[in-house]
């Protein structure tokens, strides 16, 4: 067991995913078809975008519980804007989504840095606040298929070079995040301040500004995901994607991103997304009721954190410890 754990966990996770896919494919060959693969990729694309934002936040020892509410609120704003101004084009809609998402994320960041509040409680509060704002904005009404702007619906359905646009967008976001975290100074600084906040402040990393950046980016990605979600499912309503933040965090944890901060890779997080996608895609194929999804997700989270604790060999219980953010 310890030998297995000392392998790079990304490879282990990849092997597990391939193993599951092959095992399910052996029972139901349709699971390994190109079409089913594309279905899983499409379903995973939005999750991947959200996971990239959440991962950034987790790296800083924070957590963003408001992503699903942000996604739904931005999605609703875009749907309403598209309904009110049919002349809006794809560029202005994407810009609107990213702008709204960024503002909502920046509110989290501002509350967290300005008042040195714990991220978990702030985002718990904005989780309810943003969700309620959807109801206020839409007066509780649903915006259904025929009222959704054709550009919003068209975007996720487009095919570029044989792959769905949704998948391309997710790939671009994942690659950009990989470059950002590996080669950009700001990216390295995020790892540094997640690993040791005080040391990071002493070497001159602008901790507050980086935290603002991280929460704004998480918000921006959630906003983008909101536009895509509304387009893909062609509906916007108050309870849209309710509770999805847990899936996002689950994907991060499965991918080896530590809640204790400073540990995690883009490849791992992307594999975490793939794992959830493959498992959720496999359940109906092997005729297990979808009611099992949540229980399985729970078990997988627990197993992953126990394994993470073993491999990382340090306490992750830092999230509720007293935060002393240097000025």
């Amino acid at each position: 067991m310890s030998k297995l754990l000392s392998l790079r966990r990304e490879w282990v996770l990849l092997a597990i995913i391939v193993g599951i896919a092959l095992a399910v494919g052996a029972r139901a060959p349709i699971f390994l078809s190109w079409r089913n693969g594309m279905d899983i990729a499409n379903d995973s694309a939005i999750l991947a975008i959200l996971v990239m934002g959440q991962m950034l936040v987790l790296l800083t020892r924070g957590v963003d519980l408001s992503v699903a509410s942000n996604l739904a609120l931005t999605g609703m704003v875009c749907a309403l804007a598209g309904k009110a101004w049919p002349e809006m084009g794809v560029v202005s809609l994407v810009a609107l989504a990213i702008a709204v998402g960024t503002v909502l994320g920046a509110v989290n960041g501002w509350l967290i840095t300005r008042f040195s509040l714990p991220p978990i409680v702030v985002t718990l509060g904005t989780l309810s606040a943003y969700r309620g704002a959807i109801f206020v904005a839409s007066h509780g009404a649903w915006i259904s298929d025929q009222n959704i702007h054709p550009v919003i619906k068209g975007l996720p359905r487009e095919q570029w070079l044989g792959l769905p646009a949704l998948v391309w967008i997710a790939v671009v976001v994942v690659l950009a995040m990989a470059v950002f975290l590996r080669w950009r100074r700001e990216g390295r600084e995020i790892y540094a301040l997640g690993g040791n906040l005080h040391a990071a402040a002493y070497v001159g990393i602008p901790v507050q500004r980086r935290l603002m950046l991280v929460y704004s980016l998480s918000g921006a990605l959630a906003g983008l995901a909101g536009l895509l979600w509304v387009g893909r499912y062609a509906i916007a309503f108050t309870e849209l994607a309710s509770g999805y933040e847990l899936t996002v965090i689950a994907a991060c944890v499965i991918g080896g991103v530590s809640i204790g901060g400073g540990v995690g890779t883009v490849a791992g997080a992307a594999l975490g997304v793939l794992f959830i996608g493959v498992v959720n895609g496999a359940l109906p194929v092997i005729q297990v009721s979808p009611f099992w999804q949540q229980a399985i997700a729970g078990v997988v989270i627990l197993v992953s954190v126990v394994l993470n604790a073993g491999t990382q060999g340090r306490s992750g219980r830092l999230i509720l410890e007293r935060r002393e953010v240097p000025a």
Binding site: F115, S116, L124, L127, S128, V136, G260
Partner: protein, 326 residues
């Protein structure tokens, strides 16, 4: 740790203001029956908040507490279907609740895991089990005494019909008294504060930190079971989405009650006052037809404001200790 400090006074003043405001502005609010009925909507959540307050003071958190309720309610339903009588059903609920809490406690202490991740995992797991067991079905047909526990008034029990205090509210007050005494008047309570303030120093001074943590999680499970018994009795059915999202309400009550999320500070008096405040507030809004989702939005805003206020520089006026510690 003072049980009745500045923050508690502020909450009490707010509560009085709110009662007076709604009493004057809302037709039919200041009647004994309306006031009695307003307690139904926070008594169960208040129970969760009491256990959550202990955990947060000790520097932990239990996000699976509402999912544990679903599991306990499910256990009751399954016990009933298996032909068990009421005492056995309630026993099943409590056994399930304490087991669920024990699993949280074991994972947190044995593997040194952060409780937030563990309980997000078990939240998913417990709620998932309820979903798997029930699907889109519901268990109904609970025995009459259970419904009395959930909907009845103390007066009906003691044969004094004028005494219209709901049984649920009495249970909540008794539990609040017990938990308050435990936290503020016993060695155990002092140690819970010590663990929250500095777990390492506590360990060095001979407190069995992990044992305390474990039993606090078990207690949270027991409180969830008690809340589940009352809620199941009140609504008379078990569905997989029973008490969905209540963990957030419980955390909000605790934070609004002045308990510091970093642990080590706060009181049960504050938590109880916050529970009353939120209960009265949502009941009054319900009377003027504000929808549930808008209420939860206001509660979210309230949570953030409750945290921001003490740090606005006015902190010396409101919560001197918080300002010194932050």
């Amino acid at each position: 740790m003072k049980a009745f400090g500045m923050w508690e006074r502020v909450l009490l003043a707010l509560l009085v203001l709110l009662l007076a405001g709604f009493g004057l502005g809302l037709e039919g609010f200041m009647t004994p029956y309306a006031l009695a009925d307003s307690t139904f909507n926070f008594s169960e959540k208040g129970l969760l908040a009491l256990a959550m307050a202990l955990l947060i003071v000790a520097g932990e958190i239990d996000l699976s507490i509402a999912a544990t309720m679903a599991l306990s309610s499910l256990a009751m339903g399954l016990a009933m279907k298996a032909g068990a009588g009421l005492p056995l059903m309630i026993l099943a609920a409590f056994a399930t609740g304490s087991l669920a809490g024990a699993l949280n406690g074991w994972l947190v202490t044995a593997y040194r895991l952060p409780s937030i991740v563990v309980t997000i995992g078990t939240l998913s797991l417990y709620r998932g089990i309820a979903l798997v067991a029930l699907g889109d079905q519901a268990i109904t047909g609970y025995p009459e005494p259970l419904s009395v526990l959930g909907n009845g008034y103390l007066g009906d029990l003691v044969g004094a019909p004028w005494l219209i205090v709901p049984i649920e509210f009495i249970v909540f007050l008794l539990m609040a008294g017990a938990v308050g005494t435990l936290l503020h008047r016993t060695v155990i309570g002092r140690r819970v504060y010590a663990i929250g303030a500095n777990p390492i120093a506590s360990r060095f001074s001979g407190i069995e930190v992990d044992r305390y943590r474990f039993w606090l999680f078990v207690f949270a499970g027991v409180a969830a079971a008690l809340a589940a018994v009352m809620l199941t009795g009140r609504i008379g059915s078990t569905r997989p989405n029973i008490a969905l999202g209540w963990e957030l309400d419980a955390v909000t009550m605790v934070i609004l009650g002045g308990v510091a999320i970093e642990g080590g500070r706060g009181s049960i008096v504050g938590t109880v006052l916050a529970a009353l405040l939120m209960g009265v507030f949502t009941f009054a809004l319900g009377m003027v037809n504000v929808s549930g989702i808008v209420m939860s939005m206001l509660i979210g805003v309230l949570l953030v404001v409750a945290m921001v206020l003490p740090r606005l520089g006015l902190s010396r006026l409101w919560r001197p200790r918080a300002a010194a510690g932050a």
